[in-house]
Amino acid sequence: MTATRRVNLVAIAVLLISMAGGVVTLDAIDHTRRQSLAQEALYVRSSKALRRMSLGYTGLLADIYWTRAVQYFGEQHHANSRDFRLLAPLLEVTTELDPRLLPAYQFGANFLAPQPPSGAGLPGAALALMKYGIEHNPNQWQLYYNMGFLYYTEFKDYAKAADAFAQGARLPVTNPFMPILAAQMAQHAGEFDTARMLWSTTYQSTQDALVRQNAIEHLLALRVDEDVTQLEQVVEEYREQTGRLPASMGDLERAGLIHGTPADPKGRPYRLMPEGRIEVQDSQSIFFITKGLPPGVAPPQPVRIAEPDLK
């Protein structure tokens, strides 16, 4: 082997080894710096100062802050942490740098509002964020929709939810469901229908796969909640007619109160419990259900991290 060939081989070996080693070390560095990254991002909290420091490239800086907010939320959520104290400041800086960055309002409110571990448990901060978003983007119906959603789910304030949907419905470009939602909120009737319409609108108004999956899971959970409510009413009706509880679903069928064996969206038949309650067979297979659970069992939550599509 010539000296040149030997040098080349050694150089190639060093190149490949250092490349592989560099990747491994970078992962270790990322792991070490995970916590400090968000903290560092907030050494400067003044958006005015940040605007000056960005030399006019505020859009890029806002994108960077938004990405850090998403990563911070994802990491805290993944670690089952209840400490989300940096989330609101990160979102504030992001939206002040680029007030037209709509995903920061829409997803940001979803990160902030729900109780831990699903979110930061800061519905007030989520509402403030949405109001700031509407102030700067008054023609975006999605923001009114999100605000109405927030009033409905987190504050149970149907009047304000109706007002938010109605404002969104009056915009030149809006979603056809908005006036219907406004009307339903105003009547505060048909909770299942309203919730179904909210989640259907969420499904239709986004291209993000994870958000769509989340909406589908909520719709499935709604179907279970509605089925269980109706079946328990049927059981009550049977008891009133016969003076005793049904022993099986067959009793209800023979009484002409149901047709066939009712099943959950995964195709598993519902179970009739001795005390007349209805339960799902696998309480952990359908997320977000609030009914049909065995006593003392918490509703299951998905463990994935919501990562919005920024495209």
């Binding site: 150089a11 190149l15 560099g22 990747v23 960077i64």
Partner: protein, 258 residues
Amino acid sequence: MNSRIGYIAFNTFREAVRDRVLYNLIAFALLLSGAAILVGEISIDIERLVVVNLGLTAVSLFGVVIAIFIGIGLVSKEIDKRTLYTVLSRPVRRWEFVVGKFFGLTGTLVVNTLFMALGVFLALLYVVHRFEKIDAWVLVALYFIVLQFLIVCALALFFSSFSTPLMSAVFTFALFVIGSMAEDLRGFARITQGVGGWLAMAIAYLVPNFSALNVINQVAHGDAVPGRLILYNSVYALLYSAMAISGAVLIFQRRNLK
């Protein structure tokens, strides 16, 4: 170290000194002493913060500029002046020439940084009147800056092994800027899906990670730097420099110097 590499490194250092590279220290001293005197007059309670931030930023930027502008000329200058042929006609291998140049340039920058570090600590003493425990982290930040120089020198040498000085300067500076946002770049890559995501991830891993080497703000606020980060950053800088230098050696080995 191979004695031939040592000679080339020493001569590179001597040439840099002869080229008055260390004159930048005068500008640095003026900047820092001016800031130290002024900050006390015009600001409240951020004297230490300003001196550390300004001092370390200046050390980093001065060093990067020197690394780029000397690094890009290391090979081309030797070819233009035809001194390379004299060197290579002796029992000096091409790889020894590249590695020697790298050590010479990093040596120049280390000496330069030592003087600047002295300046930073003197300015700190002037404004705060005493050293505190947290000032030890400034040393870590300076060490990270030296690691930054290792990578910049290696990149400048890599590009200069096949490109013109102007293009080498552009490429190296562009990589320095992109690398300063490397962590955010990997953040973007992680939330991009499909082929684009893989491509973005590959690029994000390939560009040098300067963001983890920049702890200036952190130490200015007196925050500690984890020991593990010091270890990982050291390993990373050595590996990345080795990668760029091996690339430079491979290209330089095949380059037609006629």
